[in-house]
Symmetry: C2
Subunit: 555 residues, 2 copies
């Protein structure tokens, strides 16, 4: 039989025994059809990588594409050349904006690319019942998606109380997924051993929130697959890789979770995870197996992640396995080159900025000059709850740059509800102007922080005009903007243009702030997330996580 391609090497990774072995791969119609020497097969094209190393294509076990700021097909252009041939994505952000149409858009756009984009259905949209997001994704809305073979399960179940209480809609989501013979990811951030037990009782099988060696071992012992995470902000891998040994490695994979286009371009994604794991003493054979087969196993997704018959011909040829130095990436039997990367921008919701705003709406009346103030913690998504004296003029709060007490607002932008939350925030270190963003987890309303109402208003209204993004204004002039037209979350530009704009807004921010050692946009994006301690701001007002209720700004 004549096949498309024959690859030879003295170092082909056998993930089943975690060894490099001499082998020959016979590839036809995108699949490996046979291995080892053969008189039955001949190939139209033979490539001899005698002294190079062949490993399966890398698999990102859990990633939110939206966090890259790129569309799926544009992200593919960044990560395919880095060796990642499949990702398991949770379109949680776009789903909060655009519901099932958002999920469908991600799948349609991904279909343009060779990258295999497997979807885990968002389990918590909205993240709380008292959020103002774009839509409510009930079990019945998710269920039809399980018919799609690219949909592999239910994504990061994070509503522990709903699971533990067998809340009806959560139970339906879990049961629908299991009935479809698909798999449920967990989100075990901070869960106790007893709470993890409850997740296991509900057949939740993975976790990517372990941040200590102890947590990794505990989760492995409980029967979870553990995904070691290395994102732009959440940098856990090097803290926890020590938990992995040759005996438990088959229960461990890698993920990026949330990684900006800028970090992907400078340091990489799963290739970076592999490199760091090897630097910390993991055998290359084991690291590459974790980066491929294990992620597929964890997601019960057959025939990706190994170099054996019937597996997709997704593979990476390495010059140096220790340094993850990539010579060539092959996806579906196809040698990846720039030529493979022509995609077109799919039509999606034209402008998802559905709000009106008057400048006076930004006024923040206070009953006293003692206020509950949100203090950001650099490089963390939690906040501190401060009680501080603040400036009040004519009954309204006035920002104080010297004390770094700025005004923050969250403007509901999905349904014209007119809801505006306002608060006082410490830590952004702005000296002029304002910044506004349409990325605000998880509901993705407009969030803005500024030194004065005029710039706040100008920045927010600019986002309305352009359909979302991140923008910096000073003296009512636009300093820089990263447009994010796809749901206010993702850029419709190329990855390089997007990365350039990201640099520009970062420089613009720094031009109107004291020196900072954190990413102001990611930090800002988490200040509206009420499921994280301690004090947060939603479109409904100031939320105290400890008390689990909205509170007044004035004390």
């Amino acid at each position: 039989m004549k096949v498309d391609l024959c690859l030879k090497s003295n170092h082909v990774l056998n993930v089943f025994s975690r060894k490099f072995e001499p082998n020959i791969l016979w590839i036809n119609k995108g699949k490996i059809v046979a291995t080892s020497s053969s008189t039955d097969y001949s190939a139209r094209r033979t490539l001899d990588y005698a002294n190079q190393y062949i490993v399966p294509g890398f698999i990102d076990a859990h990633v939110h594409i939206e966090s890259s700021l790129l569309t799926p097909s544009e992200l593919a252009k960044v990560i395919l050349p880095q060796g990642t041939t499949s990702i398991f994505t949770d379109p949680h952000e776009i789903a909060n904006v655009a519901g099932i149409e958002g999920i469908q858009y991600m799948m349609d756009d991904a279909a343009q690319s060779l990258l295999d984009v497997f979807v885990m259905l968002p389990s918590s949209v909205p993240c709380t019942p008292f959020e103002d997001n774009g839509t409510v994704l009930t079990a019945s809305k998710l269920k039809p998606f399980y018919q799609n073979q690219q949909v592999r399960g239910l994504a990061e179940v994070m509503d522990y109380p709903a699971v533990a209480a067998n809340q009806a809609d959560m139970t339906a989501k879990i049961n629908d997924c299991l009935a479809a013979n698909k798999q449920i990811d967990g989100h075990g951030s901070g869960l106790s051993r007893r709470q993890l037990d409850v997740y296991r009782q509900h057949e939740i099988t993975t976790d990517h929130e372990a941040t200590t060696v102890q947590q990794v071992l505990e989760r492995i012992n409980e029967g979870f697959y553990v995904f070691l995470r290395e994102g732009t902000v959440e940098r856990d891998l090097e803290n926890i890789i020590g938990a992995v040994d040759e005996m438990n490695a088959n229960r461990v994979a890698f993920c990026t979770d949330d990684k900006l286009v800028s970090s992907l371009l400078t340091e990489g994604g799963i290739n970076d995870c592999i490199r760091k794991a090897i630097q910390h003493g993991v055998r290359p054979e084991t690291a590459y197996t974790m980066a491929s087969f294990n992620a597929a196993q964890a997601h019960q997704t057959p025939f990706i992640g190994a170099l054996s018959p019937n597996y997709k011909a997704d593979l990476v040829i390495l010059d140096d396995p220790y340094d993850v130095k990539i010579h060539q990436v092959i996806k579906n039997g196809h040698l990846i080159s720039n030529h493979d990367f022509e995609t077109t921008s799919l039509k999606f919701i034209e402008n998802s900025m559905n709000f009106t705003l008057d400048k006076d709406d930004l006024k923040l009346p206070l009953k006293s000059d003692t206020a509950n103030v949100i203090q950001l913690i650099p490089n963390h998504i939690e906040t501190n709850h401060l009680i501080q004296k603040v400036d009040v003029k004519q009954g309204n709060f006035v920002p104080n740059i010297a004390r770094d007490q700025l005004k923050m607002v969250v403007v509901e932008r999905h349904h014209h509800t007119g809801k505006i939350g306002k608060a006082i925030v410490n830590g952004f270190r702005l000296t002029h102007g304002a910044v506004a963003s349409s990325i605000a987890h998880d509901s993705h309303n407009i969030i803005a922080v500024g030194t004065n109402d005029a710039d706040l208003y100008a920045a927010i209204m600019h986002l309305k005009k352009i359909g979302g993004g991140i923008t910096i204004f000073d003296q009512q002039q636009e300093l820089a903007t990263l447009p994010l037209k796809i749901g206010g979350l993702m850029s419709d530009m190329s990855y390089s243009k997007t990365n350039q704009k990201l640099k520009e807004i970062t420089a613009a921010y720094k031009s109107i702030s004291w020196p900072i050692d954190f990413d102001p946009f990611i930090t800002l994006s988490f200040l509206a997330l009420p499921v994280i301690p301690t004090l947060k701001l939603t479109a409904r007002g100031l939320y105290d996580f400890e008390q689990q209720k909205f509170i007044d700004i004035s004390c």
Copy 2:
């Protein structure tokens, strides 16, 4: 929360990291609900096995229950106390006799027992199109069984040509199984690397026919799970255990395939596999993981085989892990004792001996005194093809005891077709009398061998009267009989009675034969199987495997 049972030990096997660790298991309603110390749980009963070892219940990855000669519920009484808490069985033998009613009987009988009997549906009934067995199991007959949760897939696919040629019914069987999200076992006996490729292309995922280290490694490399076999006759484990190391062990499990009640009672089943593996240098932690979790993984059967939350509380408490010395077996959270073993004999086909026979039917006319003779090979299921001078009187073959040329017959016993195959056999070493059996793979017609027609006839007719079994006659007197009333394959007696009768027929055989160093009944049972080399006898006559056709006895 109050739970049924709490177990403590300093040495609890964590199969996910293959380590013994101190742990506490909280068990309720047959499941492990939590592990480790707890303030949330208290137990009605606590057992402290501080210095003993707790491992998951053993799992037999592939076994034909019928080969034990016991019913499923009776086999459970033998193997549960030996630590086997789950088996994956292929009811291939009873299916050849009684079709889907036979499969249903096995499941119904098994349901009486605590033993988890998972069923893989027989894929080749009959084994060839030119066989006279009880029924034809097409894909459409098997399909409804996939609804049953105890049915886990399609059993040992052995018809390689049908798979390779995409023969319609075989393709339907495979597709039905995959559509039900269940798993396909292979039977890769003697298959080449290229043939194994074809199995993989058809998503066949396991093999238990490796007999050399090289074959084990080849199959692991191809992506198969490999089951190391240790049966009564097929003793492969010690020849191939050397293929297993800490890197590939998670792709390997144990099976018994075919094991007589007598071997199970004297040496054990999976417990014997574990013991031998450890004696050959496998770490106990790894051997017990192979014997439990790996078999469940291979069969895509969740929540058995590990000591973690949501897993069935199937476990074995060991005094000595090296010697597999069992202190207590717990199944579904239930401490196994004799009390658990009361079962009743289920009604099944009253008598499956559907044939009539005249004594004259046994006559074997020959055209010459040179004949094709079947020579058995002690302890192998293959035969040699001899061409010998034989005695002929009045045109009919006459057995010659001195030259060990005996008469063998196969009597169709399912559908009164009147078919009788006759042949000359060398190697049984009988000096008097005859032996008849209703176990004759795979069609299970009556097979008999004897020194004279009168005893042959008496033995065969005795089986007809009692509904099947194995019987020894001399001078037309019954010397000993093991009745096998369940389809002519399984005893309706207790395992100890069955074992006693098995001893009696063995002794009776030896009383009418020269010394032998093989099991005459198992040997006899394979002489009617035409898919194995070289010369075999079916109800349709003498079959030459090499020529793939029936041949005359006379040369």
